[in-house]
Symmetry: C3
Subunit: 207 residues, 3 copies
């Protein structure tokens, strides 16, 4: 229940920031709706396609797709405010990332998959929305270059699996994972935490 | 039956225009066949993967894939003629778009999906072929920038659902939807109709 | 058995060369693991998604995903050696391509698909890993421009199907297909064999 509310807030916020990327590329309304929806619910869709978990969430709940399309188009008017309240959106995005990771992990558990694959499901849910956005908008994928994003999803999923394994109460497990994920993400934004980068300077290549 | 014939004409025309994009990027024959096939039958494949509607059309009917590959390779010799008869191809593309949309819509109906998702299925069928083509050819996706394409698919699907809802004869429903889609698309090309564009000029971003 | 060993060697080698591409784009460790895994097991994943052949290999065998991630991260230290032993990797890649093609073909046969689709399954397995790598790394897809790659997969698959059709012993069929694929690929690298290229110089376009 709590997770559902945060999920809806999360996809709305993601859709609005996705729409900004579409706006920077001068896309038309259809492009805005596509990028907004891909950013918000693309990660979950890729996860379900990889796992063969049909029907996809938005096919079962078309209202989620409606929310992301409407949020995208509204952003064409509200862009100024979205940028102004950047801080709020960064917080909603952090909360959304934690919620997406938990949901992704739960999907894996419900399908009876290996723990490692549950963590992968969490990462895909959290990360592939942004990846699709950057692919459609033809810009360098942020999540592969400079922010702690996949790592947050991994920690949230690991924590969730651990707490569940020790039989902690479900609601408590969700809240602890959510709060931990939120604060790690916010700390990584504030203190500019990053994963090590692989810079290959050698000329020559294998291909 | 009529729909099948127009479908085959449509994928042939789409494959040939897709091959031109591959030629502009100096791809080899395999690249030409891949781009031609992705343009022509990629939209339907994405739709079926999203809906979990297996087997995909070309897996059941390998002859469709053969048609698009052959049409693609033939285009390497016929490129001059394809460009010369541009007007014919724009008409075939318009007809194909209408047919693809109806077929996408029918798939959704046959799977018992929500009306909104049937419309989405129509749009995905009509639009994602061109999107895949532009992604593989690394060019800005046309359908997100400057043409009434998704909107035509939406109108065709909506009209089709409406006529079906009111119990109109199947063949009549298909013909009305086809003709309407064709003329809206042709009008949008001639009169340069476009969706509103979202141009974001504010610096700063949420990411 | 032999095929399994060559498969594991193949995905390790592919993951390491994929990681080099990530390094050239200054990706972080997550990016390196993603590109390494997409290069190594992305082709098989695309094949299984297109054919609806669930669960995907790495979902059933998470250890394969672990291998590609570890191989990717190790490459951040071993890059110099990978480039130095370029010749070894080109050989492993050729062997991997042949193995991937045979496995792809077998998947199609086991699903009872049309022979033509089995060949397509082989090509997708062999080619789409590199295609995904180039898509994520935002570089022109090599396999569509300048190397005999898809053609090798096609020949291997055709030969495999032919030998099976004539009731040749399974192990012999695999070995003949592997060796033939390996040598055609190596010959195409050495003698710079290519498919004809389609260079479109006519201005004007259909879109």
């Amino acid at each position: 229940m709590l997770l559902s509310i945060i999920y809806i807030i999360g996809i709305t916020a993601e859709a609005m920031t996705g729409a900004l990327s579409a706006g920077r590329k001068n896309m038309d309304w259809f492009g805005v709706m596509l990028v907004a929806s891909a950013t918000a619910i693309g990660g979950g869709s890729v996860r379900d396609i990889l796992l063969g978990n049909y029907p996809l969430t938005w096919v079962k709940h078309p209202e989620y797709l409606l929310i992301t399309c409407v949020a995208g188009v509204l952003t064409t008017w509200l862009a100024k405010w979205v940028v102004k309240f950047k801080g709020v959106f960064i917080r909603l995005d952090a909360l959304g990332l934690a919620a997406f990771s938990i949901i992704g992990c739960q999907v894996g558990i419900n399908m009876g998959l290996h723990y490692g694959i549950c963590v992968v499901a969490a990462i895909v849910t959290g990360v592939f929305g942004g990846l699709l956005r950057d692919l459609i908008c033809r810009q360098a994928p942020l999540v592969l270059h400079q922010e702690l994003y996949a790592s947050v999803a991994m920690v949230v999923a690991g924590l969730y699996l651990l707490l569940q394994h020790y039989g902690i109460n479900d609601n408590l497990t969700i809240i602890i994972s959510l709060v931990t994920g939120y604060f790690i993400r916010m700390a990584s934004v504030r203190f500019n935490w990053r994963l090590p980068v692989f810079q290959l300077k050698i000329e020559g290549s294998v291909h």
